[in-house]
């Protein structure tokens, strides 16, 4: 089983992300960078499949210099090798641009299964994995909470509103992760030591035969970023007894908020 994980490095969710002066880009100077949580599930699942079926796990990421840290973390978890497409303006591409770069990388490496996150928690696009599958002309199953590989096919439990659907696909295929799939392992100390010697291939777009300009415009751009209206802290309802507080809450919900 040759397994490829598409991994994005994103700001940790507890980090503050500001809006830059140009109002169309974000300020990420002070953020802590982590592996996208849904991609962590992807790394873990890839490792489990490798443990059960043999093969190797390759991490592919499009990012910047510092993205190497995220790829190294995945190697320390147990992945075999990493490919980082380093590109200083990748933030400016939309999801389809990134998907095209990833598809171009995948054309040159073997894969039976590709695992991506359902979404990256920075752009919340829910797009790149599925788009990569389309560009590679392979099937995709999204939001997977359980998978089994039997006789060269993959059978997945996919979440839908109010339940799950079981879908089977031929391989190669691409699946995206959903919470519930697994609990990602931590990188162990020996794992971290070993990761230092694992191959991490850093390339530019030109190295893989792509032209930077090719991806710069793909039909959508941010015209402005703003913070959502700040939720003001409301009112703590006081009262001498729980009953009094609750009565006042219901009055407020009915008369002020008009939600009941």
């Amino acid at each position: 089983m040759e397994i490829v994980v598409l991994l994005k490095q994103v700001p940790a969710t507890e980090s503050f992300v500001g809006i830059a002066d140009d109002k169309v880009s974000v300020k990420t100077d002070d953020v802590k960078w982590v592996i996208n949580p849904y991609d962590e599930f992807a790394v873990e699942e890839a490792l489990r499949i490798k443990e059960a079926h043999g093969g190797s796990v390759t991490i592919v990421s499009v990012g910047r210099d510092k993205t190497a840290e995220a790829v190294r973390t995945a190697l320390a978890m147990g992945a075999d090798k990493g490919i980082l497409i380093k590109d200083t303006i990748s933030e400016k591409y939309d999801g389809l641009g990134i998907a095209r770069i990833l598809a171009a990388v995948l054309k040159d490496i073997p894969y039976d299964l590709i695992i991506a996150g359902q979404r990256a928690v920075d752009d919340d696009n829910f797009l790149v994995g599925t788009a990569v599958a389309e560009f590679l002309n392979i099937p995709n199953i999204s939001l997977v909470i359980k998978e089994e590989i039997i006789d060269g096919r993959i059978r997945c439990h996919r979440t839908i509103e109010g339940g799950t659907v079981v879908i089977e696909s031929s391989l190669p295929a691409l699946i995206t992760t959903q919470r519930g799939l697994n609990e990602p392992r931590y990188a162990s100390l020996p794992g971290i030591m070993k990761a230092k010697r694992k191959p991490l291939d850093v390339k530019t777009l030109a190295d893989i035969g792509l032209d930077v300009g090719q991806f710069e415009t793909s039909g959508m751009h941010i015209v402005s970023l703003k913070f959502p209206p700040e939720r003001k802290s409301g009112r703590i309802i006081e009262g001498e007894s729980a009953q009094v507080k609750v009565s006042e809450l219901l009055r407020a919900l009915r008369e002020e908020a008009k939600v009941i």
Partner: protein, 320 residues
């Protein structure tokens, strides 16, 4: 010239999803501004009967692809059929609900057609004939206005974000003979809990956190039932094994925008807020007056949830 708005509907066992009505209503509004027609697409088996209903939500025409193979959603069959319809209809705008199916379908369609997609958008406006979609990013910490230039564009609207408007339109049904095309996916089975109201579509959500102290969520279930609402959970409650993953609200769970969200025994971590801060009214019940959730709640009650929540249920029962 591409023209018209095409709404892709979603139905499950003969019942349309609420977000389908929201997408249709929004589609109608866009069609009126662009001065064009709204066409709805329905896929599935025996869908002609239910398709007629869509005229009520503003569809001028309804294309019904009635085919037993389309009974269950599969990414490839649906993408094949819908891209054929798009090729013959040549719409300027494609709109659909960003349900789990809608997200999967819209992503694959965007890649196949090579057009812009505004995933999970909450507001859509037209400025100088250009579509601008507002979508939350960074877990709702930032709102991005995105201008979309391709023809067509795809708009996947977040559930519970846009209103439903009833407007009687012709709703003429045209039968469509679908060519399923190549498929590599096979539907095996489906398990549904139909007694539950879907979290993302519920008008009222009451969630429990670690403060529940165990898997017994009956006090919350009784309150939710009073409202016809749904029960959610914090990640801690899910990690404890008290609630299924599907109930988790937050960054790595579901994003909900009900009219009323009641957080019980939830401290209000940023990752939880990412899933519920777009609720219209937030109520928090927590015994710790310092709990950060109170900073985001419209109304807070400091107290033991096991005392407060049953009293709320009782009061509501009295009103009803």
């Amino acid at each position: 010239m591409s023209k018209g708005v095409l709404a892709i509907t979603e139905q499950l066992d003969g019942v349309f999803r609420k977000v389908t009505y929201e997408a249709l209503s929004e589609g109608r509004r866009i069609a009126d501004q662009l001065g064009c027609d709204l066409t709805a697409v329905v896929l599935g088996s025996n869908v002609e009967i239910i398709a007629a209903e869509l005229g009520k939500y503003g569809a001028d025409r309804i294309i019904a692809a009635d085919n037993p193979i389309l009974d269950e959603y599969l990414t490839d069959t649906y993408t094949n059929v819908i891209s054929d319809i798009i090729a013959s209809e040549n719409p300027a705008v494609i709109i659909l609900g960003a349900s789990m199916q809608g997200k999967d379908l819209s992503a694959r369609l965007a890649a196949r057609l090579n057009v812009s997609l505004a995933m999970d958008c909450v507001v859509i406006r037209i400025e100088d004939e250009k579509l601008i979609a507002t979508r939350p990013i960074y877990g709702g910490k930032i709102l991005a206005d995105i201008a979309m230039d391709t023809k067509p564009v795809i708009l996947a609207v977040r559930p519970n974000s846009m209103g439903i408007t009833e407007t009687d339109c012709a709703g003429d049904i045209e039968k469509y003979d679908a060519n399923i095309g190549q498929t590599n996916l096979k539907f095996i089975e489906k398990t549904l809990d139909t007694t539950k109201i879907e979290l993302t579509e519920a008008d009222m959500v009451v969630s429990g956190g670690r403060g529940m102290g165990g898997a017994d969520f009956s006090v919350l279930e009784e309150l939710a039932e009073m409202f016809g609402g749904a029960v959610g959970a914090s990640r801690s409650a899910v990690d404890e094994g008290w609630r299924p993953h599907a109930d988790q609200v937050g960054q790595t769970g579901k994003v909900v925008s009900p009219n009323l969200y009641i957080a019980c025994g939830i401290s209000g971590a940023i990752q939880h807020l990412a899933g519920m801060s777009s609720s219209k009214i937030i109520v928090a019940v927590n015994k710790d007056p310092e709990a950060p959730i109170f900073l985001k709640a419209d109304y807070g009650i400091v107290g033991d949830l096991f005392e407060i929540v049953p009293l709320i249920t009782e009061e509501i029962r009295k009103i009803k």
